[in-house]
Symmetry: D2
Subunit: 370 residues, 4 copies
């Protein structure tokens, strides 16, 4: 009962790792947007398994079908349903996990909550669920790009303690996609790739930090006091599998500064726009976008499912050990990049429509009268 | 249009710093709960200004009135409205801010969004808005305590780079309340108090980290995939004024561990309960509570409003300087503790009811039949 | 947990008949709307008891206070809280009803649901709750009037079997307010007044039908498939106390026509607008407004609380009789007129903002870009 | 942006008449419910076209596939997605309607709202959309039956002015299904069938009234003040295509009675339950179920799409005539019966879970503690 996200641009995802498929219904998409399966597929391909040697070797094409909501290449204002069929899977890899709980995975809590669990491939708790999010995010990105020229770019900022040097104000998608770990700092990227490759051979796993920037976001988006833009961004990315922390702007590091060191002083640029000299606020003040770049970071823990043997229990409480079979990501970060971007796009797109709904109100009088 | 929080236990706050008052409407409170204004006042007193030398010297009693929803000392299942009147305020302190934007405050973005702003005392963006949250949190806490013995305890973990040593599994409310900075590590607390006192005299401000633990939370709370318990907790605290970051369990620090170092191995305790040896998950796995202590941390930036002179602009874009008048907190952390506790309580209470709604379903057949 | 109505223009009401007061929080009101307590009071005065000899003789002024959300006479985009204090009431009239259930009233079901009930004056189930709706409706009306020139006019169409002849296309507020029963057909109105006066003396009560028209509603409002405009209108008015039925356009009478008799044929008017020759659709087709007048009717049952003796039971199940004391309306219809108007205004206003949010989307690109 | 219905048992439908398919996502279904495609198909077969000589002769099997949310025959608490593929359709029948607006249909308003419309087969405004509702309703019915023994039975009460005599307290599904018009009064049913058959040959259409009873509904369901049970029922059925009116209990007819004639007096039955002698309230008082049978009626207008020639305009405003091609229902009533039942089931099921969520609260303390 928590599978819907957003208010005006509202998505509902469905599906388990094994079974009929996964997908999303998007309600509230503005009409007359040109959209194709091919455009969505581009984002799904950035998310799919088997894309490189440092992701899971599972090969899934994740081909999407738009079931509804598009007519002659354009959205109609009615719900878009997008479906990705599951392929025949090696569910025998999961036989052992049908009774043994993976440490730090969702197996035990799903059983505790629902009294039943689709244990094949992780079922609903599989990262495969994010296919629906990424598909919807592709559409949100396009709306934002067309409506306001918004650019949303995520990248791997850190793997374990290997941190890349990246300028969020200038980084490009091409730089991000130029290597398989999606860190635009090429030197750091190579070290990250080597480290992931090594940990994979050790049947262990790694975590890290994804950073994401949204540029050219209009001023005025965000709905205080609960639906502040950073609050919705935090919820969005903290709902991704394996996320453990969220920061905006200066984040935790900003807490060691004094107010006079931390505050972003104002100035007026040549075009007459009110701007800030620095951007420790991360593009949001008082819950509302201020026109500067929105910059967030998300902490992802090391993948829970590992080949190393660990202490655990069965679903009846017997103590045992588990060395997980199956083909798991040694590090989710490279594939998490398009997921974070998608969630950021969904939040900003929803807030664009919400802001337009409330605050576009009386100004539109003429339109309604004519 | 973002002033409501929660699904079944749902609060709506209203009110500005200056004006008629602030308050909250709580919809969905279970009936037959004994509650009094005095109980709510206890929490409001922990939040109110003027409570110590390291908070703002503004003296406000913040006396609450329950307008509706309680009959003969018990909740009736109908909405509780709670109102706290504003007192006559020194709004002349804000005259300058009616035209000059405070750096890193919400002044400029409210103007950009709405085209109008109640500039007296910060209006809606004032931390005074959190009175409604804290009042509602007092009720959520009581429900949780009565329904499941849940304990929610927040405290100051760090001020600037002064960090306290606190054991979340054993810390008590008494320890937290034993000093004015609300850090249960007495030695660290004294240093924090001294530092805040010093920065106050320098007309500057400080930030830090609040940690909060929820103990005895039942297993099974949280609604994947979007309304995961940690996602709703993140949104809840990131909607508080001045928050810049959120962590659950191992948080950002957990990202430098490998999976085998980070995973919480399972065991079965004497009572036959499935438990985890460690708690890097912070009490939540796969978005659902696992019965271990829920532990979160929230980063609060240094207070934006400071007496030191800063560069800024007026609402018409003219560059100027501002040295804020008025009586502002040199550090919001001590007063943020009850706010964080309240938000945590609201989230868990809402999820308790939601879980009961969906998953209590068929099991309650007998009750409905009889 | 059902005290909030609307999506973007969203109201939450609170309060019981006896106790601290009743009121409403309005979230999502567009900013910069000029609004005063006096304007709201006009609508409250149409709703208040004691306004004429055919309503309850209880004298309540129902004076409203705007607690928040308005600054220097204009809305700020933040929540408006509006409070009406209860006056000292003759709650002793209700002593008997604390144990005896009024037939066809909410007494018994509130006890069954919540296990507790504020029995003074009907508590939450009192029509006094509608004060918050009428106050919010006054604001919705003003938004609609300013944004699109919308006029919303309700009137008593029928009392028992006395039916007025009214043309919804031309009826004016002045005609409605020209008599105390609010039926613009003066001849029928007098008969209605006489009948109500007579039934009052018999300690009995009457029902009837309120009709309401909304003129100049823009085309395009309504959100298929569930939030069709007529569906939300139906919910809105069926949530009013004592309502038992809803019709739009031809309603139940339309079911005896054939399709060729019932369909509204299209034509193009001189201004080039697509119009319908007839309006059996009642201004809505496929859930979306078509620019014709929206016309609905609401059935109100005779007031449940009557002075005549009736068979009933106590809350412990003992059979007894009750002849209700207190000062009750012999017929709710005259006071229901502003309630119906308010609900219609709230629905249309919410849908205006929702439509603007989704379908104003890409078209506003220029605004966001500049 | 109005394609989701319900709070805890929440459905989202998608799909157009022509295109990839139609379906529904159900979020919040309690876990461990045994459910199969075959059970859902039973209800879909009652709704499908081509089932008899008085419905459209279009032959569609409407075979459903459960994509997700069921594991080894039981629900898992995760979203159920149910898909029905569209078959190749005679979309050439609609070529003319791509430019000519059908009178009293949604063609013109969809164009006005969205600026685009999938005109094949009516697109989203086609009654084919209700497949998702009926599928979800099948599950809601089963939950209600298992949780509380609830029975929901709809039937045709009237076609044009031919009214059947039916006792809602005793009518059975078998009686309803014993003839193709779904009126349990066999004599009236034959007349209705003959009349529909005749009007079909005249290329015209008929309307009428569906009545629906819900028996054994537990006391206490419904959430005043806006989500009263009758208000949600009204919205639910008024969102069905072609509905023009709603009544509960005595409905419009009740408005000609006096209070003393209309009120349902209380008594205590042998089992000690508080009951009402009559049931003019229709099973709901004050918005909350009282344990008596819930009885509603829905007015359906005559089908808008008819073969008779009518005046209309094109989408560019030119006046023209239209005699609709295609295979349309001469009367929607027989197929509307399962739709009404589905909507009633969805509302009651959602309210069962909501009531359990809020009011099951503190009572469940023991469960959570242990």
């Amino acid at each position: 009962m928590g599978n819907t996200f957003g208010h005006l641009f509202r998505i509902t995802t469905f599906g388990e790792s094994h079974g009929g498929g996964v997908g999303v219904v998007i309600d509230g998409c503005p009409p007359l947007l040109e959209i194709s399966e091919a455009e969505i597929q581009v984002e799904l391909d950035r998310r799919r398994p088997g894309q490189s040697k440092i992701t899971t070797p599972r090969q899934e094409t994740d081909t999407c079908e738009i079931i509804s909501g598009v007519f002659e290449g354009k959205t109609t204002g009615t719900p878009l349903a997008i479906l990705v069929r599951n392929k025949d899977a090696r569910s025998q890899d999961y036989d052992e996990m049908s009774v043994k709980y993976r440490p730090s995975h969702a197996d035990a809590t799903y059983d505790a909550k629902y009294g039943i669990r689709n244990w094949k491939g992780g079922g609903r708790s599989s990262a495969r669920e994010t296919i629906g999010r990424v598909a919807a995010g592709a559409i949100a990105k396009k709306i934002l790009q067309q409506a306001a020229g918004v650019e949303i770019i995520g990248y791997v900022k850190r793997i374990k303690d290997l941190e890349g040097i990246v300028d969020p104000d200038t980084v490009t998608l091409e730089q991000v996609e130029s290597n398989i770990v999606r860190c635009p700092d090429q030197e750091a990227a190579q070290k990250m790739i080597d480290l992931i490759d090594q940990i994979r051979r050790e049947k262990d796993s790694l975590g890290g930090v994804v950073e994401c920037v949204a540029r050219y976001v209009p001023k005025g988006l965000g709905e205080p006091v609960f639906d502040k833009l950073e609050a919705d961004l935090a919820k969005a990315v903290m709902s991704l599998p394996a996320s453990k922390g969220f920061e905006i702007g200066s984040g935790f590091a900003g807490t060691v500064l004094t107010g006079s060191e931390h505050n972003d002083e104002f100035y007026t640029d040549e075009a007459g726009n009110i701007r800030t000299v620095t951007n420790r606020s991360g593009g949001i003040q008082g819950g509302i976008s201020n026109g500067e770049n929105i910059i967030i970071r998300v902490a992802f823990k090391p993948t829970a499912t590992i080949g190393k043997e660990q202490q655990t229990v069965t679903n009846s409480g017997e103590e045992t050990t588990l060395a997980a079979k199956g083909r798991h990501d040694p590090c989710v970060l490279p594939r998490a990049v398009p997921m974070v971007e998608a969630m950021v796009a969904l939040v900003i797109c929803d807030h664009l429509l919400r802001h337009q709904g409330q605050c576009g109100g009386l100004q539109q009088a003429d339109k309604f009268k004519s």
